[in-house]
């Protein structure tokens, strides 16, 4: 391994040193802990946008409900049958398991890609919060389809919020994480209460008797707003499935499931998915319909819950951007060995703030979420092939670790090759990851089998 790489990987390993060893049996957690852990997840600022976008994309009510029910079920099953079993068998994080399989070089690239994607996600969170603060100062939200900043006011708010979030992440990440735990149940209540309060404005009677009629004619009426693509059942199902693709199929949540006593604990993710990715999305759909289908999370929440709603949008953005900035900083620290924590968080925060000025990341959030999952998904397929397929085909496992490779070129080629194929596949962006996963699994197995033959 070249000296530069050795230094770089040593610095990277040092950062993740604390979880290098497999989790020991005394540290395993009960099912109840996992249920509680997942119940607090999936209530982020993005929920205000995703559910609303389904309305703007003209999803029908029946398509929405069935799509969310089944798509979330598929996501839960992906955690249960793909991610949790490998985590429970290895008791390692994806970082250390991937290092054994693909080498520290590929792990390094994975980290950087992840950091970049985190920065964009945090930028979108800041934008969502900016809609809430902009409402107070009368600054208009950029129109659907906007890519560049629409006004100096929008840029100013994004910069102020980005600077504030970054400063707070530097000064007290831990305290903010604790605050986020307190805020999470309340933010969920803001969604549910906001939807309930918005229903009379849409004409729903107190006896709920005409709810379905209102839902199908005024909320999810199957008509997309101008400039938005029409979505149907398969779009919703696929989106609900891949929304956290990097975590389940991409195996990033091995970090959590390595503490599970049994692989069946993957089923506990349902406690997070159905309230967050079904109820909250339905709620934000109702709220956006009540304000005349305008993509304005701040206004949606203000009209439904008042000032508390504005605070809800701001807090949802802030409490999610905070760990995102932290994780981005952690991943970026590998390329800046010796930099203190504050400096790298500042760098990640600055990049994120610049990205937040561009409304495209929040207005194209659904596409970004698809790309986010797609980019990291092949790594999950490579790990699945190495873990489950290689022993059955008698292909030697963990060659990168055994032979001291910095790069497992087969893994890197399959990762990049799969992305290249996925991006030209003649299907909708939302449907590309699934064939991509099989392509990655097959190609990696084939390449490593061919190497064995040689």
């Amino acid at each position: 391994m070249p000296a530069g790489w050795t230094r770089l990987t040593a610095a990277m390993d040092k950062l993740y040193e604390f979880d290098r060893e497999a989790v020991t049996p005394d540290k395993l957690q009960s099912g109840g802990k996992f249920a509680g852990l997942f119940a607090g997840e999936h209530v982020a600022a993005t929920e205000f946008v995703i559910g609303a976008f389904f309305v703007l994309h003209g999803v029908g009510a029946r398509d929405l409900l069935w799509g969310l029910l089944l798509g979330n079920l598929l996501a839960v099953l992906s955690w249960t049958f793909l991610c949790a079993p490998i985590a429970v068998r290895t008791r390692l994080t994806l970082y250390w398991y991937l290092r054994k399989i693909a080498g520290p070089g590929v792990t390094f690239i994975y980290n950087i890609a992840n950091a970049f994607l985190y920065c964009i996600l945090a930028g979108a969170m800041i934008s969502v919060s900016a809609t809430a603060i902009g409402l107070l100062f009368g600054i208009p939200v950029p129109e659907l389809g906007a890519v560049l900043p629409s006004s100096a006011g929008w840029v100013l708010i994004s910069i102020v919020l980005g600077a504030a979030f970054t400063t707070m992440a530097i000064l007290g990440f831990e305290k903010l994480s604790r605050f986020a735990e307190v805020a999470s149940p309340w933010i969920f209540v803001v969604f549910v209460a906001g939807a309930l309060a918005a229903l009379p404005r849409l004409g729903v009677r107190p006896d709920f008797g005409n709810f379905w009629e209102v839902a199908t004619t005024k909320i999810w009426n199957g008509i997309a707003v101008a400039g938005q693509e029409k979505f149907g059942f398969w779009h919703v199902l696929s989106f609900a499935w891949f929304c956290n693709l990097a975590m389940h199929v991409g195996l990033s949540d091995m970090a959590i499931f390595r503490y599970a006593k049994k692989w069946t604990y993957g089923l506990y993710t349902a406690f997070g998915m159905y309230p967050g990715h079904m109820l909250a999305w339905v709620a934000s759909g109702i709220m956006v319909a009540a304000i005349g289908r305008e993509m304005h999370p701040g206004l949606m929440a203000f009209e439904a819950v008042g000032v508390a709603g504005v605070a809800g949008v701001l807090l949802a953005g802030w409490t999610t951007a905070n760990p995102t900035l932290y994780r981005a900083g952690l991943a970026l620290q590998t390329i800046t060995p010796g930099w203190p924590r504050w400096k790298i968080t500042l760098a990640a925060g600055t990049a994120t703030t610049i990205l937040a000025c561009f409304p495209v990341f929040f207005l194209k959030l659904l596409d970004y979420v698809a790309i986010y999952g797609l980019v990291l998904m092949p790594i999950g397929a490579i790990v699945v092939a190495e873990h489950w397929v290689f022993p059955r085909l008698k292909i030697e496992q963990y060659q990168a670790e055994k032979r001291g490779w910095a790069f497992n070129w087969a893994a890197l080629a399959v990762w990049l090759g799969t992305l290249a194929v996925a991006f030209v596949l003649p299907v909708h962006l939302y449907f590309r990851w699934l064939p991509g996963w099989f392509i990655a699994l097959t190609a990696y197995t084939g390449l490593m089998a061919a190497r064995r033959t040689k």
Partner: protein, 72 residues
């Protein structure tokens, strides 16, 4: 907060505040309160939720919870 009785009381009050937020939304849905009253009361109940929850304090974070990653 170390005193278990006080801790439980604060926890109960926090939950009551959260339930009040939901109850208020139900009241406006049923048309029993005005929009202005609902929004003011919701804000007050929200502030109480944060006050009681923060006063209650938190249990030690489990190692699995520390591994949570930001998600869309």
């Amino acid at each position: 907060m170390k005193n278990p009785v006080l801790r439980a009381t604060m926890g109960g009050l926090a939950l009551f505040s959260l339930a009040a937020c939901l109850g208020l939304a139900l009241l406006i849905f049923l048309g029993r309160v005005s929009d202005a009253t609902y929004k003011k009361a919701f804000l007050a109940a929200s502030v109480l939720w944060f006050v009681f929850s923060i006063l209650r304090g938190r249990r030690a974070q489990s190692p699995a919870a520390a591994e949570r990653q930001p998600m869309p």
